[in-house]
Symmetry: none
Subunit: 216 residues, 4 copies
């Protein structure tokens, strides 16, 4: 029987994960020693292993955190009545995620997660789970739009989903690498793409502007 409450335990765990996120973001997963995480999180070397069985498990936990965030965004988009507005909201939220400086560490560690996923099945599962959630949500929204006649029927919803996910992952990378062109906002172009490529002529008339307001 534990001598600390579940809440205390969860707090400690987050404390470690927060420190790990910062460290991994700065020095990379493999160049961060458990000693540093321990120092940054304020727990002891031994305590770390009361919460995570291995160092690998820490990055797995961070990856899991990440796709929980994605699940949340999907849920929000789903609550939207209009599918096109739902799609716009999804894109907007992800677009904001790209910009938010408070999420810089998450983005950087996310990229490292991709590299790890190539050889760690657990992390791969986590990454895939996250993208899968988003993909399904996009497919659902597109399909709904097609049923209501707003989105061109010949469009393959899966393809759109894959394309949008790939696009956002690529933008995450671009932002994190600091490949700052200082020019040209991609947001309006994505908006343009959706309007011209996905929407039917009728919908295009009804939606003079879909609510994609990402500043990125």
């Amino acid at each position: 029987m534990p001598k600390i409450t579940e809440a205390q335990r969860e707090t400690r765990r987050q404390q470690i994960l927060d420190a790990a996120l910062r460290c991994f973001s700065q020095d990379g997963f493999h160049n961060t020693t458990t000693a540093v995480i321990v120092r940054e999180s304020g727990v002891s070397q031994g305590t770390l292993y009361l919460y995570f069985a291995t160092k690998d498990e820490i990055i797995v936990a961070l990856a899991d955190d990440r796709h929980q965030g994605e699940a949340f965004l999907s849920a929000m988009a789903q609550s939207e009545q209009d599918p096109i507005e739902g799609l716009g909201l999804l894109l907007e939220l992800h677009g904001q995620g790209l910009d938010d400086p408070r999420r810089a560490d998450l983005r950087r560690v996310g990229i490292q997660g991709w590299a790890e996923a190539l050889r760690n099945p657990t992390i791969l599962a986590s990454v895939t789970e996250g993208s899968s959630l988003v993909r399904k949500e996009i497919v659902r929204l597109i399909a709904r739009g097609q049923r209501t006649g707003r989105i061109r029927p010949e469009i393959a919803p899966e393809a759109v989903a894959r394309m949008l996910i790939a696009l956002f992952r690529g933008l995450t990378l671009e932002v994190s690498l600091g490949e700052d062109t200082g020019l040209a906002n991609v947001g309006p172009l994505v908006e343009d793409f959706i309007r011209s490529t996905l929407l039917t002529d009728a919908a295009r008339a009804a939606h003079p502007k879909i609510p994609l307001t990402s500043k990125e």
Copy 2:
């Protein structure tokens, strides 16, 4: 007067890089020991360090190789007379690069390079150099298309370039993670995007189909 010719030296170097590429692809950069690279490449432990000063330098060299490949693709696209066909060729070549099983290792190591670039300025420079080349080529093609009235003038060439690069990076990741949906080819959608979003009405009529034949 060296005991070995420059060509022999280059061969040896490639031999090491080839082995390293295979190893890094399989186990990741940080989980590949120099001992394994040495074993795989058939040279001795000491010889490795006659060609690369540190293990890090090997991944830098692989990243450099990579953007040399990108320079080559850009050069090919530039040789095309018609900007739209040039753009199509560029996309096709990159699309083929996504599919080619012989390039699987390159893709996987490329993703690891992204993670390394976050904390290794030399690798970052190499990655950025590669994308920069492609971006400039795309901008050049779009601008040319706009001058000839084939591409809508209100389109921002930089934005298109960033979007396409992000898209292909994202697709590289998708393919490498094996997130295989088994469905829906993105290629036609990209083609559709270009036709609907970029081309002027006149050009769209003239190009009933732009030559984007990527099967991915």
Copy 3:
């Protein structure tokens, strides 16, 4: 609150230093691997680095130990009331240090320390600190002797100090190299030197024999 007390830590540290002293004495600093020190001291490879950051730091610590010993001898000499007896005591103690077989390792490692001091500023500082202490003590004793009229006033105290230090270092080397002539004790000659060269005629009469009893 540390898991081990300061005393336990100091014991461990000495345990390592003792082993290192033996190893360095036998095989030389550069021909002694950390693996051997570890084996001899009974600690693990990792533990060594819990006490010393680098192998170099071990020899620095040994050099420091050495000049702490010299400080002790100086303190003893200073406690003597009569300056000539103090000088005699100092020489006697150092003379005993030359003979003592238990100090053979210290002498041998000391000589290696000289070689290291040529290119390691930290070790140089340690060696210099040690000789400086002794020099100051000799100067103090000589000057005191001059004030009481026992030592010839035209003698330069600094020169005597340098000469005696050089002499003892040279004798340390001779003993350690085993250049054993089996003949002729230097001790009485040093005694003679002091009587004839340093003492005033009056003091020479009062001290028919200064208490220099080194057998070396």
Copy 4:
């Protein structure tokens, strides 16, 4: 049958030894790689091993060079008719050797030779041979002085020799460690020592000043 003359061979050998002396003086024997010696001497890696079978043999050769110099000094002293003047000359020559900046490298490498001699019998033999030559010469001079009644008969020649050798070795060390007091010349004190301790009253009257002119 050699394709180069003995003279050419000797030149090459010296070229290597000169480079090695400089390198060893600067970085120490163990921190000088053969690669550096090769670079400094201008010969190739392979050629080095045509002249010296091992790296150790290089320091042995340097040690041998050294005691050849000592043999030369002894020969000079022996040529002197008067034993006391001979002794003075010997001390003067060694004293000059301490000061000469062109001999700084020799002194530094000599000290490293002491450290090596502790575990390398060949180097030990070389060092011992050098000191032995000097010791014998001093003994011979003292004994001669005793026969002619210039030096006190109760003095042990061996002890004087050992003391003087130890003293000069110690001074070599002091100079090389840069323990510069900026004060007090030891030379006159040594002179004083010889006059007061060794000479008979008669000789002291005859030699108002023995020719010891070392500036060190």
